[in-house]
């Protein structure tokens, strides 16, 4: 089911009605049935994979829970008879057994993810990424959300292994945690601590939450349909015609705008839907384009994915005995400075490689992941230099122009790295990038070239206004979300909600102001 559709809105309306009408103790069952219905629209093959993830993660956490209870009992019973060292040795041995259990669970779920992604990944390589997830192609439909529910399941198994999450004994409640419908298509990748208890709790209808949730959904539609989808034809045209020079730069900028509108808009629909039902899903974005460095950007963009990779891959990997040995070897052979960096840097590169592969099994994602890792490490190395500069020129550093310069620099750098998604062809991407150094065609865009990119002047104006509105809303949401401020001013709030509806209906990609045939969404670029 496509989020950006009337079908989804109707589904959500019916579900919400039933959810608040039934006795509170069965609300979670309504959510589970709703999630099954939502997923059923994606076909039965996909359903099988979802069920597989639910069963494997359920069995794994049950075994882990039983093992932990047995260990606790044993240590309690032998409190007086065993020495501290004996207890320590027993605990370590027991933990290795639990580690084996969780590893088997992870392996099975990873195998199913790899199997599915290898089958459809090359054909639809942006399956789980922003645009690919919000409107599904024919192949992607069969494996909707596998990246997300697999990661949610793996995260939960590891949290139980680490004794940081409770074991859910009820299979169906567990199934709801893994398959809660709003987060199935594009995340966020929630942890048990985020949603586990909320999904079990009862919820009363809350006018504020519902109003804010609805406004957030509409805001998501606006970003997706008025801005992201509207700019899509330009991107498709530049890519398919392999335009270089200034057009490559335009592509970088336009694609950043599109992915921002598409992905953050989609997440707004997801979080808004959950909010209406009284469920608070974790935020996935925090004004990412205001970041002053690449590392900061990744703390603000697709945050739940970043946290997942940091918690479950980067930390465990950099703290393994092999990494510590590598560090010691480095210190002895290459010096203390390099030796200390070795585990962190190796783990960073491997983590980013994994992040790239998670997005899709294609070279463009490998290069995208590696470039992110390399840029972060270069920034890390340049840090002492920045610190010196900051100490030498504190006023300049804190001035608004310099802060803006850092934000713009980060935005441009990330836009450049992101463009690998567009071509899905690494040599071609580099070729088009280098064309900016020898193709000087900036004059063309002022001589009508911009209007030959499948988007009319009116549409550009609508997109530009949409971008300005997005920037203003982002600015006004620093302290608290604008929708909460608007809730306190009902007349203005309702007027804005009505305006948003009109803007979506009139200027949305299916609206009266647009020629639907001009849109190639899901064609060249998906």
């Amino acid at each position: 089911m496509n989020f950006a559709s009337f079908g989804f809105l109707a589904f959500l309306a019916i579900l919400t009605l039933v959810y608040f009408l039934v006795p509170k103790k069965v609300q979670w069952i309504v959510l589970l049935v709703g999630s099954v219905v939502f997923y059923a629209f994606a076909g039965f093959v996909g359903f099988f994979f979802l069920l597989f993830a639910i069963v494997i993660s359920f069995v794994t956490v049950q075994i882990l829970g039983k093992r932990q209870a047995a260990l606790k009992k044993y240590l309690e019973d032998t409190k007086e008879t065993l020495t501290k060292d004996e207890r320590k040795a027993y605990r370590a041995k027991h933990k290795n057994g639990s580690l084996l259990v969780v590893c088997i669970g992870i392996l099975l779920l990873t195998a199913s993810l790899v199997y599915v992604k290898y089958l459809s990944g090359f054909i639809n390589s942006s399956l789980s990424f922003g645009s690919g997830a919000i409107s599904f192609g024919s192949l992607a439909i069969e494996v909707m959300g596998i990246s997300y529910y697999t990661f949610i399941s793996i995260g939960y198994m590891i949290d139980v292994y680490r004794e940081k999450a409770a074991v859910e004994r009820n299979f169906f409640r567990h199934a709801l945690f893994v398959s809660f419908f709003p987060q199935l298509a594009m995340g966020p990748i929630s942890r048990y601590a985020d949603t586990g208890e909320q999904l079990k709790a009862t919820h009363s209808f809350d006018a504020k939450e519902s109003w804010c949730g609805l406004l957030r959904i509409l805001w998501g539609f606006f970003k997706k349909l008025v801005v992201a989808d509207a700019i899509a034809p330009t991107i498709g045209y530049i890519v398919s015609e392999k335009l270089g020079g200034i057009y490559f730069i335009l592509l970088c900028l336009f694609y950043s705008i599109r992915i921002y509108g598409d992905f953050t808009g989609g997440i707004d629909i997801v979080l808004g839907s959950a909010q209406i039902l009284g469920i608070k899903l974790p935020e996935n974005f925090n004004r990412p384009f205001s970041s002053k460095s690449t590392a900061e950007y990744w703390n603000r963009w697709h945050m739940t994915m970043g946290n997942w990779f940091t918690n479950y891959i980067f930390y465990p990997l950099s703290l393994t005995k092999s990494m510590q040995k590598l560090s010691k070897w480095g210190r002895a052979k290459l010096g203390v400075g390099i030796g200390k960096r070795l585990p962190v840097y190796t783990a960073t590169i491997i983590t980013w490689l994994a992040t790239g592969l998670w997005h899709g099994f294609a070279w463009n994602f490998v290069v995208w992941g590696l470039l992110n890792g390399v840029v972060i490490l270069i920034s890390q190395e340049l840090n002492p230099l920045y610190e010196k500069f900051r100490a030498r020129f504190p006023k300049l550093w804190h001035s608004a122009p310099y802060q803006s310069f850092m934000a713009v620099r980060t935005f441009l750098l990330m836009s450049l790295i992101r463009v690998f998604d567009c071509y899905c062809d690494v040599p071609l991407t580099f070729d088009r990038f280098f064309s900016t150094f020898y193709t000087f065609n900036i004059g063309e865009i002022f001589n009508g070239g911009l209007l030959e990119l499948n988007v009319s002047l009116t549409q550009y104006i609508v997109i530009a206004v949409g971008i300005v509105v997005m920037m203003i809303v982002s600015r006004l949401s620093i302290k608290k979300p604008l929708r909460e401020t608007l809730w306190e001013k009902p007349v203005l709030g309702n007027a804005i909600m009505a305006l948003l509806c009109i803007a979506i209906l009139v200027f949305g990609s299916y609206g009266l102001g647009f020629d639907a045939s001009a849109f190639i969404y899901g064609g060249t670029f998906n």
Partner: protein, 75 residues
């Protein structure tokens, strides 16, 4: 504790580690710093901090970190 402060100062200068209790919340320590810090702590105190203990509440202040080291040393 003094040794821990010294390790932290080597990581980032100009921060009052005696009083600061928002090292994670304010983004002073990022994930790369945390791993470097754990490696240094391992060397200095012979205590291995496992990934599951990498939580904001354990790394937000030098005091919390010191308590973690003592706790892990006593297990």
């Amino acid at each position: 504790m003094e040794k821990l402060i010294e390790i932290l100062e080597n990581l980032h200068e100009g921060i009052d580690y005696e009083t600061c209790d928002t090292l994670i919340d304010d983004g002073i320590l990022d994930s790369l710093d945390i791993v470097t810090l754990i490696t240094d702590i391992n060397d200095a105190f012979d205590v291995a901090i496992p990934p599951e203990e990498i939580l904001p509440e354990n790394f937000n202040s030098a005091k919390a970190l010191w308590e973690l080291i003592e706790r892990l040393d006593n297990i």
